[in-house]
Symmetry: C2
Subunit: 357 residues, 2 copies
């Protein structure tokens, strides 16, 4: 008790004490008895400094605990690099975004660069705000999984020297680098997989129509049906399911219809989860086949284990940052769209046969 109080008291005083002024290059120069420019040389690792001076400067830096002000440095520097990039995602809390974030951080770290992350929540307005905030901070580049429908406004940022790379979703109204999953191919593979297990009544459950990836996955679904000569029945496609609850209800409605599906392709993570909820509630989880797009933790602990078309999220993120850093380094080659292939992972739910087989 005594100890605790005294610690608090000590701390209060420490906090109350006027913040100690940070040492500047001038302070270091004065202490080392050299010019400020020599300090700058030592810090930036310029070799043309005598061992003696370098030594004095190094000691002064240590003694004053001098930490160069990066913002001031980049203000003066010719390239103007701030060593910070922005990463704008759907929602940093969802696993897909969080994994992308980690991939970007890993590469940024090698470049001595910090990463700003921000969530767009599918709100175009939020995208504009965050891009603006990023440019006010003069980030060296932006990676974005966009929410907006038109990205023409980014042309200006790119022209003023802030490269932009798109992840997960392609740019619209703008030519820019992008790294995307093979959405149509992955969806096609999933649906063919279900068809090859004998299913003819395969439903599609997907998220917001406005999202480009959702459209690509729907196209893949349709192509697979066509390839197998299966008709697309009315009411078999449910779109605009933003969360598990909506998805669960949409599936419930389908199951209550005259021709309930025997198999599901769920085109997005949360949709998959919602669908599984409904199947479990109705005791149908061993009867209705499911393949989901995008893997998720726990998928192989559920009963049945959930078959998915997995995206290589780390690879998508890594390719995107690498591309961004190439642009930052001055690469002005033509813009590229890179596609990262998906992988079908059969675990059980996708291999459930149709009734009567």
């Amino acid at each position: 008790m005594q100890v605790s109080v005294s610690q608090s008291e000590r701390d209060r005083r420490a906090a109350a004490a006027e913040p100690v002024r940070r040492a500047t290059m001038r302070d270091v120069a004065a202490l080392a008895g050299v010019s400020i420019k020599t300090v700058s040389r030592v810090i930036n690792g310029v070799s043309t400094v005598s061992d003696d001076l370098r030594d004095r400067v190094t000691r002064a830096i240590a003694q004053l605990d001098f930490q160069p002000n990066l913002a001031a440095s980049s203000l003066r520097r010719t390239d103007g690099a701030t060593r910070q990039i922005a990463l704008l995602l759907e929602d940093v809390a969802n696993p897909f975004s969080a994994t992308l974030s980690r991939a970007v951080e890993n590469v940024a770290r090698e470049h001595g660069t910090l990463v700003f992350t921000g969530s767009l929540d599918e709100e175009p307005q939020r995208e504009l705000e965050l891009v603006r905030a990023a440019t006010l901070h003069r980030v060296d580049g932006i990676i974005i999984a966009p929410a907006a429908q038109d990205h023409g406004y980014l042309h200006r940022e790119i022209r003023t020297g802030t490269p932009v790379v798109f992840v997960d979703r392609p740019p619209r109204g703008l030519v820019a680098d992008s790294v995307l999953a093979t959405n149509a191919e992955g969806a096609r593979e999933a649906v063919l997989h279900l068809a090859d297990h004998g299913h003819t009544e395969i439903a599609f459950l997907g998220d917001e129509t406005s999202i480009a990836t959702a459209g690509e996955r729907l196209a893949g679904y349709r192509r697979a049906l066509a390839e197998r000569g299966l008709p697309e029945r009315p009411g078999r496609v449910a779109m605009d399911l933003p969360d598990p609850e909506t998805a669960a209800r949409a599936l419930a409605a389908m199951l209550d219809s005259d021709h309930p599906p025997q198999a599901l392709f769920t085109a997005q993570n949360l949709v998959t989860i919602g669908a599984i909820q409904t199947l479990q509630e109705r005791g149908l989880h061993q009867d209705v086949a499911v393949v989901g797009f995008d893997d998720f933790p726990m998928a192989d602990l559920l009963v049945p284990r959930v078959s998915v078309v997995a995206q290589d999220v780390m690879r998508i993120g890594t390719l995107a940052v690498q591309r961004l850093f190439k642009r930052i380094a001055g690469d002005d080659g033509p813009c590229r769209e890179e596609r990262v292939p998906t992988t079908l992972i059969p675990r059980g739910s996708g291999e459930i046969p149709p009734p009567g087989r």
Copy 2:
């Protein structure tokens, strides 16, 4: 094809074009025919500007698409605020960290502040590097879920005006604000819950001993055993399980021992998952009771549904940022440790009775 090529070509030229110089206040002042200071006043919303001049400046800003350089601004500004904070977490890709990140972002947004995120991976060295990077960028404050054992080195940062708030784990060798879960109480409640369902053979599976939260949870486990007059049998406590695989193996070893446990308290997310894997593999998931610390997505889709002691992660994050912004605003009151209560969520796995009841 033709179109695609021509688009690429157009873009290549756009990118190759020398980056357009960004407009500065001087440009705006010249175009508006006022002094640079008047522009500054308009931008900072100082009221003592005539309507006429304000109008001319506003138009010039729009015409030139002027975006003030925040870094330059904060360099000169008295308070030196950069409107960026750092958030250092265990791993931005794990759900706990990702949720914290989102909570911090939400509040930071209200303060017009951007958030740097970084992953420490339980490496003290990485913590030092990231804190240093943050101070080089002169962030306004730091929120940290620390990996290091001693945080005395942060005293210097705090004294030079960079407030630090700890989340999830308390500071050591330093007095600082912190926001933590009620780890011991939560663990105690979980173990009492198992005991009250008739269990006497309750095992503890936890992560790295070096992590303070792990110790608190172990203490809660022991207190609960003591309260119910249950002995702590040797071999019933497994610590230092950093990932699901290690946890799975540790549980397997316990189950193979002479006196296998009837119930498990798994003190961390990944440990819970590993334990469930082993139980499923052995077909024991309906026989061995499990309560996990920290909720996870899918917990209520597993069979049996997983009972947990849930942390209010959003609340922990929100309290931490709010505290940080108070410090940034100049609050120099004594440091506080806030504890956020946990909630026991019975879902099934924790209510499995012991054999023979």
